[in-house]
Point group: D2
Chain length 142, copies 4
């Protein structure tokens, strides 16, 4: 069972905006990249090899920004499982800039995702997290 | 004085992801587009024609998603000023899908932004919102 | 029958990069937005309401950049049909910045797209452009 | 002296579109990522540590797409220097999908970039490639 995962990403030119810093929307893309890497670390692809082919639409996303990221900064995205219910998961994320004098926290956020399937008419419907997945995920200790 | 603004945006193909819906990070881009259009409605550009050339880095962003947006959906982004302090603003945003049987709320979010200037070493420092701007903005009634 | 279409787009903050100009990859997104708007002008959605549910993957894309676009610039994207074969279309695009002293060409590009369907195994296969679509599109005069 | 460089990138969920494949505009972002990594391999950052603080705006970009890339595909981007003039460089790029039965070419493109500086009025002006950079770059053999 696992409750955390870390990825490292480098800020690309196309991640920046005219203020010379990473555009804030890209922090959310990095959170999602960590979430998908976490799933791969459990042996699943969020897309193709999941039991029962469930999907994980976002229900909530937030981020608090304390320091900017710049081009070529290297950032660790640390995912922690914060909540696990029958049909949903909540992750928190800590962003740490790794280059520079010392690793430094630059942002902190969270994602809440629902486990869903499409019904016959194509509508998304909440379903229990498949047992094979739920059994691999636990909530991080405080 | 103004406390709200609305823009309408159409979901482009490049806004979608492989789930067939608008990628959640783009809701944050739409919020920012509404914020900048709000500033233009007050007679300022967020970038070039602001008194004192202040900047507005994001301090916090969040969004709750209730229904997906799809390619070619038309969405109204309704900005409301929720808080105004000496050095910051908080906006809330309501997303309403305009096409379909009836307008329908699909998401709700907020942005908190700080008013900053660069000091001589290029570091961002919080400063009071320039009077000409602050005088044009008021908090929306509940 | 139609051989051209024009859309106008405003450059958003999130379209820019740290050089203070629109990131070059976004010119391609604007081309595609013009292509899809052209289809809507013919009475089709590129996605949902096309005869025979064909798809239009990109086979080739190019762009020549002569002047930068900046935040809040307004740009006209002028699509022209350059070639029409049984199974493909080639569009050219002229980008003109509308604000400033006088409209000015800033870039010029093209897209070649193939008309495809998925076969039973999900592979894309070139197919003739459905008659209802082909009948609405003609090649622009030189 | 160097004339080539390779990077490997994994296709992220946010790189895909509703056709279930990587959006074509992102191939251009991957080309640029390879270009910047090539510069780092020479000991320069394209941004901060370049002699004379020159910039490299794109003058031309093109790509031919032969096979789609999908979520979680791993792609090698192989940069080759194709032309070097006093004030410009032309790179070609070969995209090879690494996962699956065997590496497979999926796309091929090029970027032409100009070496520029800002004059006193902020306008970009073509300048000779700084000697320290030009001396490190050679054209790939045919």
């Amino acid at each position: 069972m696992a409750y955390e995962f870390k990825i490292v990403r480098d800020v690309q030119w196309s991640d920046t905006d005219m203020a010379g810093i990473m555009h804030f929307s890209n922090f959310f893309r990095f959170m999602e990249a960590a979430e998908h890497a976490f799933f791969r670390s459990l042996g699943f692809s969020i897309h193709t090899t999941q039991p029962e082919r469930v999907g994980w639409p976002r229900v909530h996303a937030d981020c608090d920004f304390s320091h900017p990221l710049r081009f070529e900064d290297s950032v660790e995205v640390h995912l922690l499982v914060r909540r696990k219910t029958e049909k949903s998961l909540v992750y928190s994320f800590i962003f740490r800039k790794l280059n520079g004098d010392a690793p430094r926290e630059v942002a902190r956020g969270s994602l809440a995702v629902a486990c869903v399937k499409r019904d016959e008419e194509g509508r998304l419907k909440g379903v229990p997290i498949p047992r094979e997945i739920a059994d691999r995920i636990e909530v991080a200790p405080e």
